[in-house]
């Protein structure tokens, strides 16, 4: 008789939750930091896994579409940094406000924009989350203010720190320290690379940004700190990006392939979570594989949509210059070409 291998697990076989030791944070002007253990329920684990995997595959798909020249202009990919935006999002509320710089796709997804709308925005179609008018660096949704292209002027950050501290504003300043500013390593660029201390009179945390539980606990801690009226706090997430700064940067002229490989094999955020879940009986290998398959399918469908959806209609060119304004005329490339501007 032939043998049939049946792989089936009764969900009662899984643990409901597990407790993990997490790396303690470095503290600046804080007596206590976030907890050094974290409880992960099965449900949370599956959610974090799926979210991070979705972001990972979405970014890889964007890489592909960019190389096929279906995505144009700038494209700054987030793969490697998934634990940062996911850990943050699960620690804060949907009513909290988030703003970021140009490496924004992960945050856009975490804040609730569906993959198909992100990809369609990257391909410049009318189904994009901002109708194709913004592109990679300018995606928005409720309580998410982008996506910004011109960032960083150091002076402005210090002015902001001053005002936030003076007025005790409930603000978490997050630095995703991925070791490089474009092609310059942090050691070559910064007089001090302890970014979590750079708020000076503002307390700070340095967090392992490759561990979603670390990020979650730190973000929870930071959010509670702010909500308690204690003022702003700085959070430095130590993370890594596998891609270069943008799609025009191969990312290997200023760092070695070995370095990238090492991070991938030892610190990948998705692998870290997967191993934890499997080793602690929170999920099975097959189950996670099923999630992978479902994610791949979702990304494929989104990419299909993003490549077949039509471009925005020409009438859209003049719209949304102002808000809440009666319609007016906008001049095109000459005085005879006019567009209508609707709010």
């Amino acid at each position: 008789a032939s043998r049939v291998m049946v792989a089936s697990r009764n969900y009662a076989d899984f643990a409901n939750e597990a407790t993990f030791e997490i790396k303690p944070c470095d503290l600046h002007r804080l007596e206590e930091g976030p907890p050094t253990t974290a409880v992960l329920t099965r449900e949370e684990g599956l959610h974090y896994y799926k979210t991070m995997q979705t972001i990972r595959r979405m970014e890889l798909k964007s890489d592909q579409l960019y190389k096929q020249k279906i995505i144009r202009g700038f494209c700054h990919l987030y793969d490697g940094q998934e634990a940062c935006c996911v850990g943050l999002e699960v620690a804060i509320k949907p009513t909290d406000h988030v703003i970021t710089a140009y490496r924004a796709h992960g945050f856009t997804y975490a804040r609730g924009v569906p993959v198909r709308e992100i990809l369609a925005e990257l391909t410049g179609r009318k189904g994009g989350c901002v109708k194709g008018k913004g592109g990679s660096m300018h995606m928005y949704t409720k309580n998410f203010y982008g996506g910004n292209g011109i960032v960083g002027a150091q002076g402005q950050i210090f002015e902001t720190y001053n005002m936030a501290a003076l007025w005790k504003l409930p603000c978490i300043f997050i630095c995703e320290n991925n070791r490089y500013g474009m092609g310059t390593s942090v050691e070559r660029a910064a007089a001090s690379t302890d970014y979590y201390k750079r708020g000076d009179f503002i307390p700070g945390l340095r967090v392992d940004g490759m561990d979603v539980l670390c990020v979650r606990e730190a973000a929870k801690f930071a959010a509670e700190y702010c909500r308690a009226g204690k003022g702003p706090i700085v959070m430095e997430l130590q993370t890594y990006r596998y891609h270069g700064h943008s799609m025009s940067d191969p990312g290997i002229s200023y760092r070695t392939r070995e370095e990238i490989q090492e991070v991938r094999s030892k610190s990948d955020p998705i692998t870290l979570l997967k191993d934890r879940m499997i080793n602690n009986n929170l999920a099975s290998v097959e189950e996670l594989k099923e999630i992978d398959v479902a994610v791949r399918k979702e990304i494929e469908e989104a990419a299909q949509f993003a490549t077949t959806d039509p471009e925005p209609p020409l009438e859209e060119l003049g719209n949304h210059i102002y808000f809440n304004e009666p319609p007016f005329e906008v001049r095109g490339p000459n005085q005879w070409i006019k567009y209508k501007s609707l709010s």
């Binding site: 700038f74 008018k133 300018h138 910004n148 011109i150």
Partner: protein
């Protein structure tokens, strides 16, 4: 001299679409040189010529410059800021001759106080005691698909300010000659390059290959002679005007194409002389229409002798009056195209 100077030649780049040979270019050795290589030649030559000249910029030493034009490297934490621009201006005041590169002029808005209040106005405020011999250079205007925050044209903004000189090259000769002239000029010069032109090869005359070749600041160039209408442009639109002129020539309309080369001080005399001949004027620019380069040209023509020679109102072709959208179809309709120039010419000639 200060600053790191990287002596690595720019890596060879794939040439983009070649321009057609202009009529009359025969004979002598005319190598095709990309704008990027022409800029690098100019920097090489001026660095060698004067030890006070040094380069300062963003991501240039190892990243090969954002667009592969080389220079020394400033930490990217300062890259968009007042910081490195202020350092450059101070160095100029102290007697050096910095060439300060912005990744694009969009980022110069972070540093604009240094450009205007420290660089442009100081000679005047000090009654000539403190000159500021600095060059600010970098890509300006629309690229392809880089959306609203990275596509603005600053010709009108900088052209507005007394104390600054503002140049806007089109061809490789323009780029090389104007950069050399800018570095040798004792005043702050803003050089507005164009990202899409960096990879475009142009023929370089023998003259242009000399180490002392400069294109004078404040002098426009007639790229194509004509009798029916004057087209005035700067930067990439000069190429579009020449294309439009080729197409119109087949219909018997001969356009005179003027490459402004300098925004400030503007060579309005060349435009006036041309209008006196053709009686019709179309200005073309990438920037927004309001308070733009074309608006200034029209105002000056009205104020001067050429007004009496106009047979029809002057027409401006510009970028659309909206922040630059990302989607290709929208972006294409926001940038002045060859068809828009042809349309404007026919409108003004009433044909």
């Amino acid at each position: 001299a200060g600053g790191e100077i990287l002596l690595r030649p720019a890596p060879p780049r794939q040439a983009a679409v070649s321009l057609k040979r202009r009529d009359g270019d025969r004979g002598a050795m005319r190598p095709r040189v990309t704008v990027r290589d022409a800029l690098n030649q100019a920097l090489d030559e001026e660095l060698e010529r004067d030890e006070r000249v040094f380069l300062l910029g963003e991501e240039v030493a190892q990243y090969d410059g954002a667009y592969k034009v080389r220079g020394s490297s400033t930490p990217p934490s300062l890259r968009y800021g007042m910081g490195f621009t202020g350092i450059a201006v101070g160095a100029a005041m102290a007697g050096l001759r910095p060439v300060c590169e912005f990744m694009t002029f969009n980022f110069s808005m972070q540093a604009i106080d240094q450009v205007i209040n420290s660089a442009a106005k100081t000679c005047y405020m000090s009654a000539g005691a403190i000159p500021v011999p600095i060059v600010f250079r970098g890509p300006n205007g629309a690229s392809a698909g880089v959306a609203a925050q990275h596509s603005q044209c600053f010709a009108a903004w900088y052209g507005h300010c007394p104390g600054l000189k503002v140049v806007s090259p089109w061809s490789s000769e323009d780029a090389k000659g104007l950069l050399k002239a800018s570095i040798r000029d004792d005043n702050p010069v803003v050089m507005l390059e164009n990202e899409l032109l960096y990879g475009v090869p142009f023929e370089m005359s023998e003259q242009a290959q000399s180490k002392d070749f400069v294109v004078p600041i404040g002098k426009a160039k007639i790229e194509r002679e004509g009798t029916h209408v004057t087209l005035v442009a700067h930067s990439r639109p000069v190429g579009h005007c020449l294309e439009a002129a080729s197409i119109l020539a087949k219909e018997g309309v001969e356009c005179e194409v003027i490459n402004l080369r300098t925004i400030r001080p503007m060579d309005i005399e060349t435009v006036e002389a041309s209008v006196a001949k053709t009686n019709h004027l179309v200005t073309v620019e990438g920037g927004w229409p309001q308070f733009g380069v074309g608006a200034e040209i029209c105002a000056r023509i009205m104020e001067g002798s050429a007004f009496n020679y106009l047979d029809a109102p002057a027409v401006r072709v510009t970028g659309a009056d909206v922040p630059m959208p990302y989607a290709k179809i929208l972006e294409d309709n926001c940038i002045p195209q060859v068809k828009d120039i042809i349309f404007a010419v026919k409108k003004t000639l009433n044909i």
